[in-house]
């Protein structure tokens, strides 16, 4: 089984690992786009942050009411303290301290630590859900194009239904009914997000199917699976990579939006969950809503920059 999987992986990856000059060519084209390089650098930084960041920060779950609602370093807020002996409020200015560079939340948890561990969760959500959606979309798209006839019709009508379904409402509905566990949310986003990929892959595969090299392969007696894995998929792989890069931010945002309206997994502090908590204390501690939002925004921006750059690089007709 694993040998078979390895075989498939090698065949799919072949146009890249087997052809260093092609990779170099793509890299040269991508590198000319400064925004794409910035995107790639930020994503690399984010992955590094998610991998080793939690080792370097404080414990994101440790509660300390002595240090609650501290602003980020360089900012100050006013804090009212009630004195029970004199029966009056004294207002003091509170400054951010270097122990908590990004401030603390209403329970005194370190914002930096929460943002870093949130990066881990949000990235995982984006990668896994996109992975599921891409695999499903590719399978359905290739099958639809390759089988044709009634199978194509049935698959495409089903895709139409799924595409017309108000995606976010479906997500809210399913997560509300079956409960907000993160694994489930990821699964649902993956299982509902494949439609665009399926359509694109199908149309690409349809145009490839009539090309000479596929006809030649068939004429030489290649089996269906060989044609699909050796010829069709390697030729749509660059398209798949672009779709993946451009759909990861959508998935991260979908999870954040779900958390934002109160349907996130309360045991997993993703950026959306922190943001949701922060929007209720905008007047007292604005940074709790601002910080995870900035991270979300930069992440989406980085993936969009990179995706755009890759699309231009993979498309030989475009002039970067």
């Amino acid at each position: 089984m694993t040998k078979r999987l390895q075989d498939i992986a090698r065949r799919i990856g072949r146009p890249f690992y087997g052809n260093r000059r092609l990779i170099k060519y793509y890299w040269e084209r991508t590198r000319r786009n400064k925004l794409a390089v910035f995107g790639l650098a930020f994503i690399a930084f984010l992955i590094l942050l998610a991998l080793i960041g939690p080792l370097l920060t404080l414990d994101p779950t440790s509660v300390n009411f002595e240090e609650k609602n501290l602003p980020p370093v360089g900012f100050a807020t006013e804090k009212s303290v009630y004195n029970i002996e004199t029966d009056e409020f004294t207002t003091t200015e509170v400054f951010g301290i270097w122990k908590h560079p990004l401030g603390t939340d209403s329970k005194g948890r370190d914002m930096l630590a929460m943002i870093v561990s949130g990066a881990r969760i949000s990235l995982l959500v984006g990668l896994i859900a996109t992975g599921i959606a891409l695999i499903l979309g590719t399978i359905i798209g290739v099958l639809s194009a390759y089988l044709g006839g009634w199978a194509d019709n049935v698959l495409m009508r089903f895709t139409d239904i799924m595409m017309t379904f108000p995606f976010f409402l479906l997500l809210v509905l399913i997560v509300f009914i079956f409960g907000p566990s993160l694994a489930f949310i990821v699964l649902v986003i993956g299982l509902t997000g494949w439609t665009g990929t399926a359509r694109l892959i199908r149309s690409e595969a349809l145009s490839l199917r009539t090309r000479e090299f596929i006809i030649a392969a068939k004429a030489l007696g290649a089996s269906d699976s060989r044609v699909i894995f050796r010829h069709l998929i390697p030729n749509v792989i660059s398209l798949i990579i672009v779709i993946a890069t451009l759909s990861i931010p959508g998935v991260i945002l979908a999870e954040a939006a779900l958390s934002f309206i109160g349907l996130g997994d309360p045991t997993m502090a993703s950026w959306g969950i922190i943001l949701e908590a922060g929007q209720h204390s905008l007047d007292t501690s604005w940074w709790i809503a601002v910080e995870p939002g900035i991270m979300l925004f930069l992440t989406v921006l980085a993936f969009n920059f990179l995706g755009d750059g890759l699309r231009d690089a993979f498309d030989p007709k475009s002039n970067v």
């Binding site: 009914i177 939006a257 939002g293 969009n304």
Partner: protein, 325 residues
């Protein structure tokens, strides 16, 4: 030109649309009815506290709302009622679903209409300017800003706008005032932040699409011809290039109208507390108010299908070369 094929095409598309709408209706129905939640859930805490028999109360509530029957029977009942124009009874607001929708759709409509207008007008103007001045500093700034606009999460943008303009500067209320008369100046003022929240993403998208559609056409032969004829640059850009760039733009704008109903508009209504269809379906989901959930989903779906069909038909008038088969 007679377009007899167009009539056949529309009939075929309508047929497909009905099938798709029916499919979505069925999926939604199964989802909401097969789930473990019940409209009696909200009473449970009170009942348990008062010491009554929980199962008996659940049974009576479920019998009242007709959700105790087998799911197939419920489904058949629902479909029959739907054909008679009866969309069901909203459990949580105690009124017919049609009444509920009639009194709330206008809030979604005005938000979406105003945001789309704002985004389309500004987006197309900036896009044209950016394309005409390609590779200038203005173009780079516009392109960069459009990237930012596309990437900014709209619910977060809404929260940030409230933070800056309502909480810190006090220019707007932090919630939407439903007592304001519709389509009045005061109402427009109250909708400024929601319009920016919903419109920014669309605006940025339109800038990018307009720019690339204009650039595609600027390089074509007929533009050179028009210039060679000595036509003023205004006419070349406004008549020759823009009219041809309009075709892809119409599709994008129409498609967006369909998709924002349940994406951006939904979240924007929740952030600002605007009582539109998104808000009522959101409340209905949390109250296990199935008929409202199904109705709003169905309306959204029909809207998307209708808009897609109208887009395709508009296409044939904008570009008479197009034929569907």
């Amino acid at each position: 030109m007679k377009k007899s094929w167009l009539r056949d095409y529309i009939i075929k598309r309508l047929f497909y649309s009905v099938i798709i709408a029916w499919g979505i209706l069925t999926i939604t129905f199964v989802l909401v009815r097969a789930g473990p939640t019940s409209p009696a859930d909200k009473y449970l805490a009170n009942i348990a506290a008062s010491g009554q028999d929980v199962s008996q109360v659940i049974a009576s509530v479920e019998a009242r709302y007709g959700v105790d029957k087998p799911i197939l029977e419920q489904y058949a009942d629902y479909m029959v009622n739907l054909f008679h124009g009866n969309w069901g009874w909203s459990f949580s607001t105690s009124m017919p679903v049609t009444e509920l929708i009639k009194s709330h759709w206008i809030y979604s409509f005005q938000l979406i209409l105003l945001s789309s207008l704002f985004a389309a007008v500004l987006g197309i103007l900036v896009g044209i300017y950016s394309a005409v001045k390609q590779y200038t500093r203005t173009d780079y700034i516009a392109t960069f800003l459009s990237f930012i606009g596309v990437s900014i999460p709209n619910f977060w943008l809404g929260v940030m706008l409230i933070l800056v303009f309502s909480v810190k500067l006090g220019l707007f209320k932090t919630y939407y005032d439903t007592t304001l008369p519709l389509f009045s100046l005061a109402n427009l003022h109250a909708l400024i932040l929601p319009i920016i929240t919903l419109g920014t993403g669309m605006l940025a998208g339109y800038v990018r699409y307009t720019r690339s559609a204009m650039l595609d056409n600027l390089r074509k032969g007929f533009v050179t011809t028009a210039r060679a004829k000595g036509l003023p640059e205004r006419t070349v850009i406004g008549k020759h290039v823009f009219r041809n760039a309009l075709l892809p733009l119409v599709t994008i704008i129409m498609f967006d109208l369909g998709s924002i109903v349940f994406g951006g508009a939904y979240l924007t209504e929740i952030v600002f507390g605007i009582p539109g269809l998104g808000q009522i379906s959101f409340n209905a989901i949390f109250a296990n108010d199935y008929p409202v959930v199904i109705a709003v989903t169905l309306i959204g779906t029909l809207l998307v299908l209708l808009v897609n069909l109208v887009t395709d038909i508009t296409y044939t008038y904008l570009d008479p070369r197009i034929r569907y088969d």
